[in-house]
Structure formats: structure tokens, C-alpha cells
Amino acid sequence: MKQKTQVDDIDRERYDFRFDEDPEAMLASGITPEIIEEISEEKGDPEWMRKFRLHALEIFARTEMPNWGPSIAGLDMSNIVTYIRPKSRMNTDWNDVPTEIKETFERLGIPQAERESLAGVGAQYDSELVYHNVRREVAESGVVYTDLESAMHDPRYAEMIRTHFMKIVPPTDHKFAALHGAVWSGGSFVYVPAGVHLEIPLQSYFRLNAKGAGQFEHTLIIVEDDAYLHFIEGCSAPKYYEAGLHAGCVELYVGKRATLRYSTIENWSKNMYNLNTKRAIVEEGGRIEWVSGSFGSHVSYLYPMSILSGKGAHAEFTGITFAGAGQNLDTGAKIVHAAPETTSHMDTKSISKSGGISTFRSAVTVQENAINSKSSVSCESLMLDGLSRSDTIPVMDIRTDQADIGHEAKIGRISDDAVFYLMSRGLDEQRARAMIVSGFADNVSKELPLEYAMEMNNLIRLEMTGTIG
């Protein structure tokens, strides 16, 4: 009776499929000012945006690659096609979405049910939104949910976008933020007017479908004072064999006493470099709640940041990261307490398996003026075998002695006793392990709407057992 410590590697068939991309739609590889001009023209950018892109490209050219995290040497920048012409333009009716594209979404199990139960669907296929639907009642409440490109051209929102776009994540932030500024394409714009409580979550589903293509979608959300929004972002990409890059950017503005819950389930194919930047700024008495499940990708750098700029603002980060064979996921969260009486809480889990590496970085900064602030961080890692690695790297920069800061980290393995206990009730070893891992991940799944929690548990089971269902 030998005990298996290793479980089979993953069958990602359900997630890794891809239609042949249309080669004519691809522009030449490599990033030059000419390409940027081309993108800008194709999109009909306003003049400020054209300049912004070119300026960001300059910053990109002179900024060094990050040298402190997992290696991104496998990423051939000159080989990444930054823009792929979409096969369809905006659609408001599901029936008008081209069949091929529809099939992709349907195989991922996204469409109908969600369209009914959720307020709007903005799904990105290649580099542009192909499907977008906001229920009338959402629109009637004054909430704007559209793609960023159209919003940029709409006189009602143009100025709002100009004053918010890449203001909390400037192109100077890091090399991939600069790249994003130069080549961004697609993404969502959400505006929730003061006092509006949107009960149903808004959601978007991002997806890559072209070999060697980068995806640079930009999400800009503005939640005005006393308003409430839950935004769900789901990502999944099919497998392809050249290095793929995702360098998206999310900027969230949370007004006074407003709440924004931002939930993400990311599931990138395992050759992807996911170098994503997410940031929120929260005014007095406001709340940002991040719920984040990171799956897939070859390498990830992902550290959503919350800047608590107003008195009594609150940030909550609940996350899980799953690193399997060949994956090096460097994730974390950053909180900046920049006002008095601000509070934050981080609760994160990371799982590593079959040689996967998962590193969690928590960075808490408490500025001098942020007196009577409170922060608590709890990180737990689970290593599923002796080959895998999990690290926790807490960084704290506390500039006042009138703050209450707590940090707790735990590293564990699945206990043989627990596996035996579940097996003694008839679950085979793989299911027993998957169940224990799902249980470990329940900090995130209990924060997600039911269908997303189920999807996440399916992902975990898929990662654990090689089958789904």
C-alpha cells in the first residue's frame, strides 16, 4: 500500500483550444512608432491619446525590464503582435455574434445563463469587444458600461476618460505599464453615478485567441460617492506555442463612502506571461474589495494596489493563486495607507503543485499622516508535493507608531490523515485531495457569486485530477 504523492498532470483540453487565426488580420510584429501610429489611426484616437501612446512608447523604450521577479527572458518582445483586427465589430445582440466566436465562448461555458442573470456582458475577443450587452435597467439607473474606445469618443465621457486614464498607473510605473500605454486596445469603461447601488454584478470575459498575440485591455471604473458596484472580470486563454503576453491595466476610482467589489478569475494558458497592473484609489469612507483567483500562465506578476487616500477608507484583498508544473506565479497585494483611520485586510492562499512556484508578496505602507490605521495580513500556502515551492515575502513600511499592524503566515502540506479520512468515505485519492484543496481555497470561493465559485472549483479539480465534472 504505497501512497501516491504525485497526481497526474493537467488535461486542459476544455480550456486550451483555439481557432486558426486569420493571418491577414495580423499586422507586422515588433513595436515601432509606425505601429503605434497605425493602431492609433485604426482606432481613430483623439489627438491627446495618439500623443499619449507615442509618449508611452518612448518611456517603454528607455525603461529596463524588471529584474527582481521570475524570469521573463522567454518573452520575445519583437515577436509579439500587439494588435489583431477583430472579426466583428461591436454587437449588442448575442445572435449577431459570429458563430466561430460564439462557439469559443460556448465551449468555455459562458454565455446564456450569465446574460440572463447578470447585468451586462462585455467579452473581449482578440483585441476588441465583440459582445456587449447592458440590460436596460442598468442603463436607466444612469450606469454606463461600455468599451473604452467608444466612451473615449462620446462627448459625455471623453473628458472623464482623459482626466482618469493612466493617472493612477502612469506609463512610468514600469516597463509593461509603458507598453500598455502605447498599445492598449479594448477593455471596459464603467461609470456609476453618485448614490446608485447596482445590485447585480457587471461582468466581462476576456480572452486571447491569436498565436503570439498580446492583449492589452484597459479597464477604467469610476464609482462616485455613496455608490455601489460589483464588477467581475473573468479571463481564459487557449494554448498557443509562441510566447504570449498579457499586459492589461485596471484603474479603479472609488468615491466617498462608495464600495467597489472587483472580482477576478484568471485562467491563462500556460505559455502566457501575465504582467498585469491593477490599482484602486479610495476616498474618505470608501471601500475597495478585491477577490482574486489566479490560475494558469507561465509567469505572472500581479500585485493589485489599493491607495487609501481618504480618512477611514478600507481595502480588502482576498486571493488565491495556483501554480502547477512549469509555472512561476509571483502575486501579491499592495496597500498604501495615506490617510488617518484607514483599514485594510489581506487574506490570501497559494497552492503549488508538480514543481510550480508560487510567491506571495504583501506590501503594506502606512504613511506618517495615517494615524490610527489598522492592517492585518494573513497568508497561507499549501504545497502539494516536495517538488513545489511556496514563498511569502512580507514588506512593511510603517511611518507612524500610531498604527496597528498584524501579519501571519503559514505554510502547509495536505495531511495524509485528512486524505485517508475522506477516502474512508468512498472518495478516491484524487477527489479527496481536490476536495481538500477546494476547501483551502474557500476564502475566495465563498466571496464569489455561486456560478463563479463553481467554475473555480472546477478549475481546481481540473488542475488536481486531469478531468472535469
Binding site: 475522506l422 477516502m423 474512508s424 468515505r425 468512498g426 472518495l427 476536495m435 474557500d442 476564502n443
Partner: protein, 246 residues
């Protein structure tokens, strides 16, 4: 035909053998009691019958329904109808008692259950055990008191309806009322299933409402005495003095 036949079974951990040639037969419908001093090997025998990978069988075999299951994994044995109520049930965070039990049931029966039917069954079983229905939604055994964990084990027994139930000190750590409740649970199992019981215990309270067919006394990994219900009383009176170190 014997339901469970343990034939000259030796088993242990890497460093040492803990069971030395145990032979024991249980037939359907019977109630057996396994007694013995602390550290005698009772739990080890229970775990070994259940197929714990912690213990390696070094000699003899285990037959169930006439088939050799010595090499089978715990889940295969569970599917055959063997159940072990753990002396120390394990806490599994993040999985509710209800979800877990439904998964286990579906796995064992191979059929999906309607949520409504399942909930009804679960509620009925919890009522027998006087368990607050809120426990169904709590994480499996997490933060349960000692007594609550034991009740949760019997709840699983009632839901899974095994052919053979091994109860490892399910009665220890229970208050007077809880012993009665657990006894009622065992009676309910008896009523609903034509199963067999192998009860490991240091007390007699739990046996009062049951008809004991056989008693086995184990010491130092060996069966040292066999008898009927009267043996339980004898041990109660005189302890294990007569059986240990012989």
C-alpha cells in the same frame, strides 16, 4: 458466509509490527465488541481493516464478502460497504458537512441525488441524533466539540448505510445524554440496515441497548480472549489483568 474475515493478520509501521496474527470473523447481522487496554492495537486493527496507508500488512489477509481486499485502497473498501467511525475525526476546513456527505454518498452509490431528497434524508438523520441542522453547513468537524464530532460520525453512518460499521470509541468523551443519543443512532442503523457492527469501547453503557454476539479481547496486538456478552461484564469487573503479559 462471513462478511468480514480477518485471517492471521499481521500489520504495523515500518519500525515495528503492531498486530501479530489477528484472526476474527464477523457475519452480517452480528454485533461484535473489541476490547483491550490502551495501546493494545484496537485502533490499528480498525484502520488496517479500513485500508489506512499508514499501516502495512506483513502477513495474513482480510476478506470481505469472500473477496480478498488486503491490497485495496480505502475508497474501494468504503464502496464495498466498510465504514470506520474514527476515534479522532479529522477536521477539513472549507468543506461543509452537508456537501461532503453528499459527495461521499454519490460516490458510493454511483448516482446523483436530488438536492431536495438528500436534504430531507440528512435532516431526518440529524433529528435522530439531536443535531442542530446548522451543523450541516459548518465545515466538516472544524471547531466541533469532541462529542459533536462523534455525533457527526454516526450521522455519516446513518447516511452511508454500510454493511460493516467499525465504531472506534465512538462513546468516549460523550456526556450521559449524548451516549443515549448515539445509542439511538446505532439502533436506527440496526433498524434500517442488515449490517454488522464491530464496536471498540472501554465502556458498557453503549452496549446496554444492543445484543452483543461476540466479544474479542486484544492485548499487545494479539487476540487473547474470546467470548460472548458475558466477557464484557467480566472485564468490567476484573480489568485486563488476566489477559495482559501472558
Amino acid at each position: 458466509m462471513a462478511l468480514l474475515k480477518i485471517d492471521n493478520l499481521s500489520a504495523g509501521i515500518e519500525e515495528k509490527e503492531l498486530l501479530h496474527g489477528v484472526t476474527l470473523t464477523v457475519s452480517t447481522g452480528e454485533t461484535h465488541v473489541l476490547m483491550g487496554p490502551n495501546g493494545a492495537g484496537k485502533s490499528t486493527l480498525g484502520y488496517t481493516i479500513m485500508g489506512s496507508p499508514e499501516y502495512t500488512v506483513t502477513g495474513g489477509k482480510i476478506l470481505f464478502d469472500g473477496e480478498d481486499i488486503t491490497e485495496e485502497s480505502a475508497d474501494q473498501r468504503a464502496k464495498r460497504g466498510i465504514f470506520l467511525s474514527f476515534q479522532n475525526p479529522i477536521e477539513i476546513p472549507g468543506i461543509s458537512l452537508s456537501d461532503f456527505l453528499r459527495n461521499a454518498l454519490e460516490e458510493q452509490t454511483g448516482t446523483r441525488m436530488k438536492l431536495w431528497d438528500y436534504k430531507k434524508q440528512l435532516k431526518a438523520a440529524m433529528e435522530v441524533l439531536q443535531m442542530d441542522s446548522a451543523y450541516a453547513d459548518r465545515d466538516l468537524n472544524v471547531g466541533f466539540s469532541g462529542g459533536e464530532k462523534k455525533k457527526a460520525e454516526i450521522l455519516q453512518l446513518l447516511m452511508l448505510k454500510p454493511k460493516l460499521a467499525i465504531l472506534d470509541e465512538t462513546d468516549s468523551g460523550l456526556d450521559v445524554d449524548a451516549v443515549k443519543t448515539v445509542s439511538a443512532g446505532i439502533a436506527e442503523y440496526r433498524k434500517n440496515c442488515d449490517g454488522a457492527l464491530l464496536i471498540i469501547t472501554h465502556n458498557t453503557k453503549i452496549l446496554e441497548s444492543l445484543h452483543v454476539d461476540h466479544t474479542h479481547v486484544i492485548a499487545d496486538g494479539k487476540i487473547v480472549a474470546e467470548g460472548g456478552a458475558e466477557l464484557v461484564d467480566a472485564i468490567n469487573e476484573n480489568g485486563y489483568e488476566n489477559y495482559v503479559g501472558k
